[in-house]
């Protein structure tokens, strides 16, 4: 089995698009790596892969090794990433695939990637509850993942879709590690007044309603976005070092602590 050397598998899910699944995946990977873990990131958002951009590795490609595809190493190799984005000729190329092809690709991602020993494999998913999600749930029938981190934004329009995702988890018997509320509040750089652009508190209410743990709220920090977008220009400093200075680092250290605790407890 390709997953035998992987200690813990965590999925990042959300019924809604653009709530920050990929940002949460990235930050979870960075904060886990900062604690000395060996982390793998698998991006199964096939029609809109964001991981290569998030880790500043758009120019890298995946190579075929003796044991399978070698994932792309980030920085000093503490983080390894696999995404369909690495397999495209041009970053603007669109992947127009129906379900069966997506299913086949995901199966290949699950069987053909030579991750090597990993402490954590984090899987970033596309929005919805369709082909990709059914496929990944099928792939994990034998190797049960440790659970899913569900991401939402606070407004009711988003939580309405995320509720569907929680029901999906129930149906496929996926353990929910907890809910992260992203984009919770924005601090104005001029007057330091916090505005709840997308309202606030929706994630916590939903967590209570569904009886799952609320892992924390993450505010909007334009500096994080800026850091991701300009990471290549910042010279020698690795993404991990830059992230340690970010205002979001302490927030995610707490979240990843809880994730580790819950995974270890199993």
């Amino acid at each position: 089995m390709p997953f035998e050397d992987i200690k813990h598998i965590v999925l990042v899910l959300s019924g809604k698009g653009g709530v920050g699944k990929s940002s949460v995946t990235t930050q979870l990977a960075l904060s886990l790596a900062a604690k000395g873990n060996q982390v793998g990131v698998l991006d199964i958002d096939l029609t809109g892969p964001s991981m290569p951009r998030m880790f500043g590795a758009e120019a890298k490609t995946v190579v075929q090794g003796p044991k399978g595809w070698l994932p792309v190493s980030i920085g000093d190799g503490k983080i390894k990433v696999m995404s369909l984005g690495f397999l495209l000729n041009d970053r603007g190329d669109s992947v127009v695939w129906r379900g069966p092809k997506k299913t086949a690709m995901i199966r290949q991602f699950c069987t053909d990637v030579a991750w090597g020993p990993l402490d954590y494999l984090i899987i970033d998913t596309p929005p919805g509850t369709s082909d990709e999600h059914i496929s990944i749930a099928e792939q994990f029938q034998d190797v049960k993942p440790d659970g899913a981190v569900v991401v939402t934004t606070p407004q009711a329009v988003a939580t309405a879709d995320v509720r569907k995702e929680l029901n999906f988890c129930k149906k496929v018997e996926m353990n929910v590690l907890g809910i992260v509320e992203n984009m919770s509040g924005y601090v104005c750089p001029h007057c330091a007044e916090c505005t709840n652009i997308f309202s606030s508190g929706g994630g916590k209410v939903m967590a209570e309603e569904f009886g799952v743990e609320f892992l924390g709220s993450v505010p909007i920090d334009p500096k994080f976005g800026q850091m991701i977008e300009t990471q290549k220009d910042s010279g020698s400093e690795s993404l991990l070092e830059q992230y340690k200075k970010s205002g979001l680092y302490p927030v995610f250290t707490k979240i990843s602590d809880r994730v580790i605790e819950k995974c270890e407890a199993k």
């Binding site: 019924g15 809604k16 698009g17 653009g18 709530v19 990929s22 029609t47 809109g48 964001s50 998030m54 970053r91 603007g92 190329d93 669109s94 992947v95 127009v96 695939w97 129906r98 379900g99 069966p100 997506k102 299913t103 086949a104 596309p126 929005p127 919805g128 509850t129 369709s130 082909d131 999600h133 059914i134 934004t153 407004q155 009711a156 329009v157 988003a158 309405a160 879709d161 509720r163 569907k164 029901n167 999906f168 149906k171 496929v172 924005y186 104005c188 750089p189 001029h190 007057c191 007044e193 505005t195 652009i197 309202s199 909007i220 334009p222 976005g225 800026q226 991701i228 977008e229 300009t230």
Partner: protein, 326 residues
């Protein structure tokens, strides 16, 4: 590309190199050997989808059909769709329909404040849910027994549903049919395009947010439109800038480090329809299903939106009628 059929009668998920249950090769290709569906596929009728003429007839009284697309999720497709709908519907003479083909994450009913409605089925078809006298909507949300139910469907089932929305819904006479889509470039997008090809799509409005991570996916969507032969009416940059309600200072929540939507529009050779700034009140209005045009007419976002609505009208060849108000 084979046309889409109801394939929900397949008895197992299709194999890796499935030629498509409707293609010429269905049931005969190498990959079909050993597939449990082989017999079903081999005996299925071939050729163009027999339902397409029915759809064309059903939609013949609709003047303009506009798709709202974005490769990226959460950039405001549904918000923009509902605003465009309210914007068109400001003129009482204009009949507007909104079709929500986001099967796994429908948002239109909530944003329009009709989440708890159910559809009525009669001999002539399903009637859409009316939000206002001249504004009707259709979404899978109306068919769910409980509003939090997950729709865990693979592609073919979603396609079947979309076909029902087009074939069986009594849209009546409409000036505009707006189609709100899920993120990505997959089943839903291919189906809507192939089913509507015959009846004619005016084009697609593409939504983005300013940061490169979003532009990256939106670039893919524009390429998809080119491949599929869908005319791009223009690109809208949503969530562009934020005006703090307490100090009026403006700042960028999502940084446009690579020039934002405008630069992308130029690069891809499509029309740039405008920027819509963030306004927390729009989010609140969406949560309560109100029309922001009525609730906050003075918001800077609404002013930019009105301009975008006018531009979309011009793109599809209609006279603007909001001009005198602004």
């Amino acid at each position: 590309m084979p046309s889409i059929e109801e394939t929900s009668d397949l008895i197992a998920p299709p194999p890796e190199h499935c030629p498509g249950p409707e293609g010429e090769q269905a049931g005969k290709a190498d990959a079909c050997a050993g597939c449990p569906n082989q017999a079903i596929c081999a005996s299925a009728p071939k050729g163009p989808d027999p339902d397409i003429p029915l759809i064309t007839a059903r939609l013949s009284n609709i003047k303009h059909k506009i798709l709202i697309l974005s490769g990226k999720g959460g950039v405001g497709k549904s918000t923009f769709t509902s605003m465009l709908a309210w914007g068109f519907a400001l003129n009482e003479e204009t009949q507007v329909g909104v079709m929500d083909v986001d099967i796994c994450g429908p948002s239109i009913p909530k944003m329009m404040g009709v989440e708890d409605e159910a559809i009525h089925v009669s001999a002539s078809g399903m009637s859409p849910v009316y939000v206002a006298d001249n504004l009707c909507t259709m979404s899978i949300q109306y068919m769910l027994p409980s509003k939090d139910d997950a729709v865990i469907w693979r592609g073919p089932k979603k396609n079947g549903m979309i076909k029902r929305f087009l074939k069986d819904v009594e849209w009546g006479e409409l000036d505009y049919l707006l189609v709100d889509t899920p993120p990505g470039t997959s089943d839903e997008h291919l189906s809507v395009n192939s089913l509507l090809k015959e009846s004619g799509i005016d084009g697609a409005v593409i939504i983005t947010t300013p940061q490169e991570v979003a532009l990256l996916d939106v670039r893919k969507e524009i390429n998809f439109c080119k491949k599929a032969g869908i005319k791009v009416l223009g690109l809208v940059e949503n969530m562009a800038g934020f005006v703090c309600p307490s100090c009026e200072g403006s700042s960028e929540v999502f940084m446009a480090t690579t020039g934002g939507g405008e630069a992308l529009a130029k690069e891809m050779g499509v029309e740039f329809l405008g920027r819509v700034p963030l306004d927390p009140r729009i989010g609140v209005a969406c949560d309560y299903g109100e029309s922001f045009f009525d609730a906050y007419p003075d918001s800077p976002s609404i002013k930019s939106l009105k301009k975008v609505v006018e531009k979309v009208k011009m793109q599809v060849g209609e006279e603007g009628d909001l001009e005198e108000e602004s």
